[in-house]
Symmetry: C2
Amino acid sequence: MAKGFQSLPGFRDFRPEDCAIRNYLFTHFREVARRYGFVEYETPLLESTELYLKKTGGELGSQLFRFEDQGGRDITLRPEVTASLGRLAASSQRDYPKPMRWFEIGQCFRYEKPQKGRTREFYQFNVDLLGEEDSAADAEIIALSIELMRNLGFRQGDFIIRLSDRSYWHNFGEKHQLSPDQIAELLQIVDKLERESPEKISQKLQALNLSFQQLQEAIQNPESLGDHLDHVLKNLEARGMRDDVEVDLSIVRGLAYYNGIVFEVFDAQKSLRAIAGGGRYDTLISALTDGSVDLPASGFAIGDVVIRHLIEETPHASEQMYQTLATQSHFDVFLILADQEQQTAALDLATRLRQAGISVGYSLSSAKFNKQFKQAEQAKAKLAIVIGSEYPTLSVKTLATRTEEIISDSDNIAQSISALLSQ
Amino acid sequence: MAKGFQSLPGFRDFRPEDCAIRNYLFTHFREVARRYGFVEYETPLLESTELYLKKTGGELGSQLFRFEDQGGRDITLRPEVTASLGRLAASSQRDYPKPMRWFEIGQCFRYEKPQKGRTREFYQFNVDLLGEEDSAADAEIIALSIELMRNLGFRQGDFIIRLSDRSYWHNFGEKHQLSPDQIAELLQIVDKLERESPEKISQKLQALNLSFQQLQEAIQNPESLGDHLDHVLKNLEARGMRDDVEVDLSIVRGLAYYNGIVFEVFDAQKSLRAIAGGGRYDTLISALTDGSVDLPASGFAIGDVVIRHLIEETPHASEQMYQTLATQSHFDVFLILADQEQQTAALDLATRLRQAGISVGYSLSSAKFNKQFKQAEQAKAKLAIVIGSEYPTLSVKTLATRTEEIISDSDNIAQSISALLSQ
């Protein structure tokens, strides 16, 4: 490490090889979104702090990158995108037919303790279906998340969708005469089920006149899953995706604004944090607009950190990724100047090849023939074109096979070179 | 506009139609970079404030989005990327053969008064060639910027590169016995030439024992342009790009760290701010690392705001953009359910088509046949596939021509549909 400045703790530099992996993920996010007919939007990285406090009820409050700008505004680097999406959708929804299929890829920021799998910035892929209350929309969102996992090279059994419905707990609460506040408390208890001791849970349940056993019974032997879960399961069955999903009523998602179907994507061993998660949030947009816009919504989000980790840990997914990246060489063609007198011809040729979409490199300073050849190999070029005193006659060497062809520079040289590149 | 939250002043929402334009720019940035063999990197949006103060000598100081994080660090949302690039290149350059051809696309933030063409956030495309001191590197960077303009649909005469060399002014200063500090002052005067009154300029020049006439003479009738400018011009001539460039010694770029060739891209009428600019900064990386890493460098940056504006103002460039965007329909295929009993078949078909890379939509809630057809048209689908009681027999309608084909669902349906789509 050189002397001098460091990046901030929890913030990542993407060297070219890391950026290629980031872009591999983005390409797959965009491709799967396209197949499902979603269009991309983006919102600002900075918003009024109030937007997040209002939306999340302050749950993310202690993790906000929050400050006052030069105009005295209380502003925050976005910790997530759904609040901004709600703001944008509310103000623009009149201009679009419903349902709106929208997606976004961008960075979010949370002041957390940096550790493996937890950074202070991360990219998130957000997919949302706005203006459709039918549970077919929830199924569509879940199917997209499954398709994404398959597209990234994961196979059945590598991952599992844990599927649930918050309204199950609403019904359960009402059956046990709980008030709305008590139901909210119950959801908090269920959310922390895997992280708290049975004693602590029992204690909290006692305040609601419920027992740990009743809760476990409700999770393991539900009387009825309800219409929404039934529909979603049947819908996914028709798509050949039923085996990627398990009903798990202990999943309720932390954030208060979910109100129906919720789900999380886990690695099969459930050894990592949730890879992705989402659900239905029909009242958020109404809440953000003081009731003036009512737009039912269902969506999900996936971050880049955990999914990259799982790809690296899963041999066939990791092989697919690295094979894709290996085909992206820096240069299609490297020009080698055997005669410095031909510099003008070389620059002219480089320009014409580039204009035809071919990537071209060459030595920027005058260098010996052998050194230029070495540069061509270091740059992982596919072809080396030698330009010497015989110009316009050119020698084209395929670096992998060391075979050579003699061609003449002419109007259709780009075509000849493209043909050699696609061999 | 609905009641509720607004975005912050100077920050942009990208609705799908705006995001498509942003992505059109990004696609062209990446494509031209690829042809020139540049690889993408990314650095954090937040850095220690000190990094920017050290690099720019505080010139951007008053425009910084600067704050203290929860750990008491003085941090800043990046106003530009070159400082971070310098930091990253210094710490990683040992791992890469030279020269390094690196590019980046990302957001920057400046607290400026929001007005037409000036926002508080903007995307920037940064292209840098590191580790090559030959002026062939400067020519390569300038050629890339010209190629980008052409690629975006601009023609000769739509734009002009104003090319200069800071060392010309160093030589001029030394000839007039100016101290290094006085030369720095002279560069500041030249930089503001188009923005300040002749009186004010004369006054400032007097302190350096120079006259306004001497300065104008030096700009308009240079004795010699020097080797670097001569080389760059000859190099661009060989590429057929000489006519896109004019020597203009009044261009020196504001930032203190440029030390050689500098250039700016303008619209032909010079009615807008500079569209792009760049130059050679051989000492920056050394300065950021207290002299431990010495890496000559040349680069340029272009923002998304001014270039988008110029595209919209230039009929052939704007036509190219909107024609490209018009071909991106939301859905290739819209499935229409003529018989609700066939829902399972429809979901299965949607899944298979999507897995083959075709984008597929359908009505998420049960709707009448005509309404589904209307949805297909609103979604700008190319084909409507009607699934009725005759399934597996399907009716495929091309919406633009209203022609119909009858095909049967089978293992190679995706192939048949792809064939229809590419007609």
